[in-house]
Structure formats: structure tokens, C-alpha cells
């Protein structure tokens, strides 16, 4: 689909993305992708500065995660607000509209159930470290049809 100068494939799949704010109180536009987490569909914001897949509580509820199943508690700060939760390993799928999708296993942060109210309507966040670090990606920011191209590292 996209190739490096040596003809090695760079991207083998592509999906549409949305470029919008994810909070009614903010102006910054975010890259929003349609992914699957353990085969549950979800929207996720590409977060190149963040670690892990940070799973919104509504998605975590659908996944049926038991907070006690992982005792690896940690804290994540999102937009200056600290959330407590636990670490898990999950399978994430980048769904392709053309070409091939990629399923990969990554570290996920699942906020505790008592954080749901504080979380509000924030989305799931797709970070780089321990998450997208094996995925090559490129953006076509064409405002009429923005595209997210992706492939795997060799």
C-alpha cells in the first residue's frame, strides 16, 4: 500500500480517521481511530506522548475486566488529572478498510470503577510505549477523507 524506497512495505492497511475534539470543553483536534480491544469495537485517540492503551471505563466494562484480577496498580495522568487503575495485557486490532488489519498484544491501563465519574466522556487512548511501538503509521490529513496508514515493523 505504501512502500519504502527499497520497496519494503511500509503500510499494509489503511483506515479512515476523524479529526475532532473529544471533549466539549476543548478546542484541540485529536486523531480518532476505530479500533477493537479484545474484539470489542471502540474509538481511540492516537496519543503519541502516552504509554499503553488507556481504556475508557465504558469499554473496560464491556470487556468485563475484574479490577482485582491484576494487582499491578498504577496511576496515569490525562490532561493533568490523575487516574488510578490496573495493568492488563490485551489484544488490539487496527481495523483496515482496505488492505490488512493488524492485531497486536499490548499493555493496557484500566481505570478503577470508582474513576468512571471523573473520567466522563474521555475516550480510549492509544499510546506508543508498550502499545503502538511495533506499528509504523502515516497520516494523510486530506480534510475530505483523512486516512491512517499502518503496517508492522519487520
Amino acid at each position: 500500500m505504501l512502500f519504502l524506497p527499497n520497496r519494503e512495505p511500509f503500510a499494509t492497511g489503511v483506515m479512515d480517521y476523524a479529526f475532532r475534539p473529544t471533549d466539549s470543553g476543548e478546542n484541540n483536534l485529536r486523531i480518532i481511530l476505530r479500533i477493537s480491544v479484545e474484539n470489542i469495537p471502540a474509538l481511540a485517540v492516537l496519543d503519541t506522548g502516552g504509554p499503553y492503551l488507556i481504556i475508557a471505563p465504558d469499554v473496560a466494562n464491556r470487556l468485563g475486566f475484574d479490577p482485582e484480577a491484576s494487582l499491578k496498580k498504577t496511576e496515569i495522568k490525562i490532561r493533568g488529572v490523575a487516574y488510578t487503575g490496573n495493568l492488563h495485557r490485551v489484544d488490539i486490532t487496527l481495523t483496515a478498510s482496505e488492505g490488512e488489519g493488524i492485531q497486536f498484544q499490548a499493555t493496557a491501563f484500566v481505570p478503577n470503577t470508582d474513576q468512571e465519574e471523573k473520567w466522563g466522556n474521555l475516550p480510549t487512548f492509544l499510546g506508543i510505549e508498550n502499545c503502538l511501538e511495533r506499528i509504523r503509521f502515516a497520516l494523510d490529513p486530506n480534510p475530505d477523507a483523512p486516512k491512517f496508514y499502518f503496517g508492522t515493523l519487520p
Binding site: 499494509t12 492497511g13 483506515m15 479512515d16 480517521y17 476523524a18 475532532r20 475534539p21 473529544t22 466539549s24 485529536r30 480518532i32 476505530r34 477493537s36 474484539n39 470489542i40 469495537p41 471502540a42 474509538l43 504509554p51 499503553y52 465504558d58 464491556r62 491484576s70 499491578k72 496498580k73 498504577t74 496511576e75 496515569i76 495522568k77 490523575a82 495493568l87 492488563h88 495485557r89 489484544d91 486490532t93 481495523t95 483496515a96 478498510s97 482496505e98 488492505g99 490488512e100 488489519g101 493488524i102 492485531q103 497486536f104 498484544q105 499490548a106 499493555t107 466522556n121 475516550p123 510505549e129 508498550n130 502499545c131 503502538l132 511501538e133 511495533r134 506499528i135 503496517g151 508492522t152
Partner: protein
């Protein structure tokens, strides 16, 4: 007699003082209340103590920081006779963690010679790293600890959780339903902005002002073919 230690701090000029209680071990240090000193009194005296210290990596760091006092944010005071140097390094780690100072925490992690450390110390450092969100250091400790302690279940669990991501399948067939969902969200954004919607293959199943209302109306909220999301 006390010794004073300091971390360089580039992010803030605020000066904080930090007192480590006289602990003979390291295990109880976290449970001991920390005492913060608000005034930078007696700095010359403290600096004198620092300059009298030996030449470990941490002390070099400290000496460098004290030379430029304006860049120092965290001082730790302890009874010089209370702990062995190795335990003191773990105390520094705990101090940085209890301050929530990720930069200081990273510096201490990098300065400790981990190949002399026990499983318990690795796990303690990992817990501290995760407690303050020092994720790169947690990952580093989990990777190293996993190799060093293959028989320790807890260490191996940290290693598994914090392992680099791994490709499971690079040939997943295209999902046209996902593309259809994105097209629906683009076409109907203004109409449903900030509402919760349930979509299947680009078709609206139900919309509601809150997630709770939406789930109440859905026939099968656990249906994995349905995208449930706020409209952004």
C-alpha cells in the same frame, strides 16, 4: 550528624526540603510520615556536609546540583549513621516517589547498580515506579528483573504486563463495518454531538444522552458487533 542530598530539578525553581527519618532499614520508610521543611535554612552548612561525601554516582549528582542551588528542588536529610549506602539509595527512590518527582525518580533508578539488587528490591522499585507513573522506569525494571529472576512469579507477572507490544496477526481481513461506523459518525456528528450512540455496521441502533440510558435501551449491551461511543 546529618547529610544533605539534592536532586537537580530543571522544571521548577520551587525549592522543597525533605527529611528522611532515621530508619535502620528500608522496609518501613514508606510508612513513615515525611516531614517537609519550607525554609532553605542553613544551606551553607548543608552544602558542607554534601561536599564531605564520597564519590558515588548519586553523590556526584548531588554535588553538581548543589553548585547551582537555583536548580535544586529536593533535599533529603538523614542521619548519616543510620543506613548502609545501598539502603540509602532505596530510600532516595522512595523519597522521589513520595514527592511524585518523576525526573528525580528516573535519575535514582539510573544511578543504582541493579545487578547487586534482590528480587524484593526490584519489585519494590517497580511498585514505586508505577505508583507515580514512571512508566519507562517500570518497563526497564520489569525487563531486567524478568531476566534476572525467572523463578519469581510476581517478577514474571510484571515482566509479562510490561513487555513490549507483540504482533499477533498482521493479516486481519478488512472490516467494512468499522469503515461504515466512521462514515456514519462523520455524517451525523452535528445531529448527535455529545450524545451516546450504538452503531452496527454504519447503522444507528439507538442514541441516548448518557451511556446509562443507552445501555438500558440496548437489547444486548454485550454484543461485540456494536460500537458504543459518545459522538465527538
Amino acid at each position: 550528624m546529618v547529610a544533605v542530598y539534592a536532586f537537580p530539578e530543571q522544571r521548577s525553581v520551587d525549592t522543597k526540603f525533605f527529611l528522611i527519618p532515621n530508619t535502620s532499614g528500608t522496609s518501613s520508610a514508606l510508612e513513615t510520615p515525611w516531614r517537609f521543611l519550607s525554609e532553605p535554612t542553613g544551606m551553607e552548612e548543608y552544602s558542607q556536609f554534601v561536599s564531605n561525601e564520597g564519590g558515588s554516582a548519586i553523590e556526584q549528582l548531588i554535588n553538581r546540583a548543589v553548585l547551582d542551588f537555583s536548580s535544586v528542588s529536593l533535599f533529603i536529610i538523614r542521619d548519616r549513621t543510620s543506613t548502609a549506602n545501598q539502603d540509602f539509595e532505596m530510600s532516595l527512590l522512595e523519597a522521589a516517589a513520595s514527592m511524585g518527582d518523576e525526573a528525580a525518580f528516573a535519575e535514582v533508578v539510573n544511578s543504582i547498580k541493579w545487578d547487586h539488587r534482590s528480587t524484593e528490591e526490584y519489585i519494590k522499585a517497580l511498585r514505586l515506579a508505577l505508583s507515580i507513573g514512571a512508566h519507562p522506569q517500570a518497563r526497564q525494571l520489569a525487563a531486567e528483573g524478568g531476566l534476572r529472576f525467572p523463578e519469581n512469579d510476581e517478577m514474571q507477572e510484571y515482566t509479562r504486563l510490561l513487555a513490549p507490544s507483540r504482533i499477533v496477526n498482521a493479516h486481519v481481513p478488512p472490516d467494512l463495518n468499522a469503515a461504515a461506523d466512521m462514515r456514519w459518525l462523520k455524517a451525523h456528528r452535528e445531529e448527535y454531538l455529545s450524545q451516546w450512540v450504538a452503531l452496527r455496521g454504519g447503522t444507528l441502533i439507538v442514541a441516548a444522552p448518557t451511556r446509562k440510558d443507552l445501555l438500558a435501551q440496548l437489547e444486548d449491551p454485550k454484543d461485540k458487533s456494536v460500537l458504543i461511543t459518545p459522538v465527538y
